[in-house]
Structure formats: C-alpha cells, structure tokens
Amino acid sequence: MKANSLSAVSAQPGEALRVEAISKSFGEVQALSEVSFSAEPGEVIAICGPSGAGKSTLGRLISGLDIPDSGNIFLGDRALAEVAPQQRRVAHMFESLALYPTLDVFANVASPLRAPSHRGMFSSAEISARVETMLAMMDIAHLSKRRPSELSGGQRQRVALCRTLVQSPSLFILDEPIGHLDAKLRHRLRGEINRRQRALNQATLWLTPDTLEGMAVADRVIMLIDGKVQQIGTSREVYAAPASTSIARLLGDPAMNLIDIWLKQEADGLKVLCNGERMQVGDEFLARLKATGRLRLTLGFPPLHTRLDDPAAVVGLPGNIYTVEPFGKYTLVTVEVNGVHVKAKMPARFQTDVASSVQIGIPVEHVLLFDQESGVLIDNATLPLHNKNVSTPNTLHSEA
C-alpha cells in the first residue's frame, strides 16, 4: 500500500518552474526586483538570504497569495498569472504554519488530500497510508489525535511539514521548514526530506535564512539579498567563490574573514596597509594584488585556513587576541587588528591568553579578492575549488 501510493507520486510527470523577471513592491518598499531563475523537475533549490531579503514574498507570488507587479511565472507550460491559487498545484508550507486549530493532527495532515484539488486521486485507505507514513517519518505518529494547541512549537512545525509533503503537487515551497526544531531532529529531517524530494519528479523550493542548511539540502543555491538574485550555483560553487562580500558574509560558520586593504606607494616601494597596520606580503602575492589594477581591495579568507603564529605563513598581519571560544571540536579565536576582527578556527586543544600579541598567517592559496567599493569578486584565479590540498586546514577534530 505504502509503496503503491509513493510510486503513484513519482510516476506523475514533472514540471519545470520558470520565474521570469518578477518584481514586487509594497508601498515604497521594493521587496523583489527582476527576480529570475528556474527549477527543474526533481530539483531541490535553496533560496537563502537574511531576514527581509524577500524569500517569503517570492514564495507567496509563486503560490498565488500575492500578485507580482511585473514579470511572469511558468509551471510547466502554464502561465501562473492566469491560474487561480488553488488550481496551481503548489504545496506551500508557511513559516506561520497556518494549521486548523479545531482539527487533530491526522485531519490537519489529511486535509489537502480531501480538498477539491485532489478529488478522486486517493481512496480513503490511501489517504490514511500516506498520512501515517508521513507522521512516522516526522516522529509524530503518536500525536495523531492531538489538536495543534496541545503541541509544542517544534511539533506544530512538523505537522505543517507533513501536511505539505503529503500532497502530490507540481511544486513544493517550504518556508523555513525546520527552523524551530532542535539540532538533532533538524539534522535527521533535512537528510530525509532532501532524499525524499530528490526522488520525486517535482521541484522543491527550500526557503531559509540559514545558508549552511540551504547548502546541505540543495542541488543549487540561490542567494537573494535586498530583493535581488545575487548568485545562483551549486553549494560548492557559491561557497568557494561567493560573487560579492555581502554573500560571503552569509556563508560558513563563522563566515570568511573580510579585511580591507590599501596598496600604498611609499618611499621604499609599494606597501600593503590594513587599517594603518603594515601587512607582510610575499612578492608573488603582491604581484597578484597589483594585477587587479586596484589600490583598494577586500581580502576574503576562511577561518579554517587562517594561521596563528605559523612561521611558514608568507602573508601576515600582527594583532592581539580578542576572544577565545572553546567549541568542543575546535576553538574559535578572534584576533583584533586596529579594530578589525579576524577569526581563526583552531584545533580544540589550542590555548592562548586574551590580549597577548599574535601574528595572523593569511592563507594565500585560499584568498579571494573583492573590489572594496562594489564588493564584487574580481579574482578567484587560485580558486581552491578542485584542489583543496594546497594547504591543510587547521584540524576539526577534537583530540582526546
């Protein structure tokens, strides 16, 4: 029975989603500007961006809860502007959940399958089987007779997730689907949901402010900032080469270090300054900086490859230890250089004293160069995308 109802879903032909230059404003606020992207059948797309970036608005325009000011949305060969929301076959999980307070968990999850849009698709036995499979996957089968008011926030979120995933629509939209769950459940569910969605013929849009979550679940990541699509790529592509500093700031835990530098002609030659502090640079790296043709640049480099007091580092900057945060599997050290903070992810056993002076080693092979004014990535010539072995990272492992 279970196998039958699941195969019925995957047998349904997939439809691609095409979003073409949609814009939306609310009064004076431009929520979305010329947003374009596509999602292939079976593809999981993460739409990542900070709060207020326009993620939920985008979801609402696609499912028909709001109307774009301009632009077109196609699902398969249907232009959605001409299709009523309930006819669009979009299963949308809202961040606000929107459960029926008077229905129990089972009836909430079954409700879309009993709605007119699914009429005749499933027998009542099939509905039960689908709902039960879904409740079991989310670990809430034992709550099926409870009402939403008798559930915790995390449990309610899982009910809403079940109610969305149980459908067989043409497109899934999940708006912060696992945000309120504890770490353990979040890790398990993101793997299971991802695996399930990829096996379907329908595309899934996964909206989240947590870029690491988006990277973990998605085939492709769309970075949405200030209502504009800033970058589209695989997790690996976006992480290795963020198109701008505003994207780089949202990637990683913690995000890459970004420091502003200034190439200055002094009596004894061209020097590199970081906030007034003279930076030690090798000839090769200086040549790379010069080749950009710019005097003001922003350097981006990952905390995992940032060295402290490493005699082998050729590019260095003196600073003082600002804080030491001992996480279990690594120790995060923040170093201050004239008011600028640089983070290094060090082995768990690393010890140092606050305020002591330290030499930051900047990992040349991992440095990205951004234009300081526009924030745009201008040089990723030594992109470590395919060759991570150029330097070994500071270890992640706690050593017993």
Partner: protein
C-alpha cells in the same frame, strides 16, 4: 556583582505537578552561567524565578548571603537583556542607555559620566545620537546591553539575546558579549536554546531537560564528558551517533558486541567501569561524527571497520556530513570538505574505540564517569 545561589528551588503552577522538581545551582561572582535545553525544559522558568518575575514554590534564592526569595523584581537589582531588545525606538542611543538612571533621579552630570563609560565599553560612542529604530538588530542589542550595564546591577540576565539576529550579526555580537564577559567579569545568567551560543559565551553550562538539571560543567567537559545520553545527543552538531550494544567478558577478554555480530575489545582504561557497571547489561555506545573516519587509508590496531552505503551526503562549509547505512545501524560522519561521495555509493568507515563514550541503556548515565 553578587554570587547567585539556588537552594532546592521548586516551581509548581497548579499546586500538584512540579514544573521544576528542585534545583540547586550556583552562578559564581564574575561568571556567565548558561541555562541550555530544549523548549519546555524549565530554563525560562528558572530565569524568571531568579529575576523575581515568577515566584518560587519552595526553597530559597540567595544573592551573596541575602535571601531574595520574597523580594520583588525591582528590589533585586537584576538587569535584563531581552531577545527583542525592548528599547524606546524614538529615543536616541544615549537616551535609551540613560533611561534607568534618569528614572532613578540621578544628576545630569552623573548620568552623562555613567552613560559615556558604557558607550565607550560597547563601542557605541559614534552612534550615541542616533535613534535606535535606525540601527541594525545587532546594534540595538548592544544598546540594550548598555542599558543593563549602566545601572550597575548585581546580576545580568540574557534571555535568548541573539535569537532575532541574522547569522553574521549573531557571530559578531556573540564575540562582543564574550569579550565583555572576559574583560569586565560580569555575573550573568544566559538562557538559550542554541548550544553554539552557550558554548561560545558561557563559562559554565547548566543543561536542563524536563525541569531537571542534567549536567553543570564547562563547555569542553560537557562536550567531551557528557554525563548522560540526553546531554550527549543534545550537544554537538551533527549529533553524536548512538549505537546499542552489549558487554560481556569472554575468556577474560572483555568484548563489546554491536548489532549483526560485530564486536570489538574495549580499551583497557574502560574495563573497570564496564565490568563493574555493565556486565550483561544493555549499553549504548556514543561516537561523535567528526571521529568517524571515511575511507581511512590506514587504521589503528583495534579499530572497527564497517562497510556501508551512503544514505545522504550533505555539503557544508568547512566540512561535509555523510550519513551511511551499515550493518550496525545508520552512522553520521563529518569530514573536511569537499568529500567526493554520492548517495548510494559504497564507503568504508573506521571507528576507534578510544573515542567511544559508553552509556548505560537503562539509566542513560555515562559509565566512564561513574565513581565507585
């Protein structure tokens, strides 16, 4: 600032069931103590009882040697930092921070001096004249911390201070609070559901579940020597792998058996605990994902090699997470990115017993921490 001590504090809302069945806890002077746990664990109730917002049903709360149990919030000299900042949006940064002093009728000169001190400490001098509604969430929360500090409280309570911030501001403010804690030696209690916040900022962490303290210790002890299965699986991302096992001495050789007939000899250093506590009993073995080796080129003597199939591969930033189905169960491994693995592919995992945690299946307790 003062030491805060809870002695056998209980809380019941209905007079019958105990939401907090009895808590003993000390926050030392100059220490940040985090109350960490899932929703409904009692951490917010505990915070409210310390602050005097919620009454206690039994027991006593001391600030140094003073019993404050019957004092109301205003008489306890506790400052709060809330998750939604609770600032006056139309007032400037300066006036928001000055507010607690002006309502207490302090002189203008005294107010200016105190506020300037705090502005400097928190790096807010350049924006002192701006209205707070124009500031980012992170800056607003710094103003709210300034307002808490300016009145020189005996205790500062941070109630989910970072939960409304975007990730970059969260990391930044986390570091600032940590720095403030390390340099100014504030006595503070932090309530959070986010283990990263607790681990990074607090000197000690009190892990709670269902109203009961599970472990109170430094972040590294909580991570490396979890007291029980709850703490072990609540702390750590991705969570610790837990495998059911049994223990038996076979011909004087202590062996631990996993599912599917796989077994290994437990390290000598754990024999005593296991023989004494776990003979014939159910065990749960805990293994951190970052200590599972993926396709290890060589393995230490005594290591356990498991072949399996990749269930899911999730790219991360610095590291990737791989979930593998093996004969002993589903195992999550984490390793430096990028890993070249695809779902469905074959993979070999290496587990070293030296890294294992051993829990009693019945009580959940960490067997290696049990003392005779």
């Amino acid at each position: 600032m003062k030491e805060v001590r809870l002695e056998n504090v209980t809380k019941s809302y209905d007079g019958e069931t105990l939401a907090i069945p009895g808590i003993n806890l000390v926050c030392a002077r100059g220490e940040m103590l985090a109350l960490l746990g899932p929703s409904g664990c009692g951490k917010s109730t505990t915070l409210k009882m310390i602050a005097g917002i919620e009454s206690i049903s039994d027991g006593a709360i001391f600030f140094d040697d003073t019993d404050v149990s019957d004092l109301n919030t205003a008489s306890r000299n506790v400052a709060m930092v809330f998750e939604d900042y609770a600032l006056y949006p139309h007032l400037s940064v300066f006036d928001n921070i000055a507010f607690p002093l002006s309502v207490r009728g302090k002189s203008k000169a005294e107010i200016t001096e105190q506020v300037e001190r705090v502005l400097k400490l928190l790096g807010l001098r350049e924006i002192a004249g701006e209205k707070v509604q124009q500031l980012s969430g992170g800056a607003q929360q710094r103003v709210s911390i300034g307002r808490a500090l300016v009145r020189e409280p005996d205790l500062i309570m941070f109630d989910e201070p970072l939960s409304h911030l975007d990730s970059d501001q969260k990391v930044q403010l986390r570091t600032e609070i940590k720095r403030l804690q390390q340099t100014s030696k504030l006595t503070s209690v932090l309530v959070t559901h986010d283990q990263n916040e607790a681990i990074s900022m607090a000197d000690r962490i009190a892990v709670m579940d269902k109203g009961v303290l599970q472990q109170v210790d430094t972040p590294s002890a909580i991570y490396n020597q979890p007291a029980n299965i709850f703490v072990a699986s609540f702390i750590g991302e991705p969570p610790m792998n837990l495998l059911e096992a049994s223990y038996a001495g076979v011909d004087g050789q202590p062996r631990v058996s996993l599912a599917a007939g796989r077994s290994f000899s437990a390290g000598e250093q754990v024999w005593w605990s296991l023989t004494r506590r776990a003979q014939g009993a159910g065990l749960v073995i805990g293994i951190r994902p970052e200590q599972v080796a993926i396709n290890p080129p060589h393995t230490a003597a005594g290591a356990l090699l498991l072949s399996g199939r990749v269930f899911a591969h999730e790219p991360g930033g610095d590291s990737d997470v791989v979930t593998v189905d093996t004969s002993v169960g589903r195992i999550v491994a984490e390793a430096p990115a990028p890993l070249m693995l695809a779902a469905g592919g074959e993979v070999e995992l290496g587990l070293e017993p030296a890294h294992f945690h051993y829990f009693c299946k019945n009580t959940g307790r960490n067997l290696l921490l049990e003392k005779p």
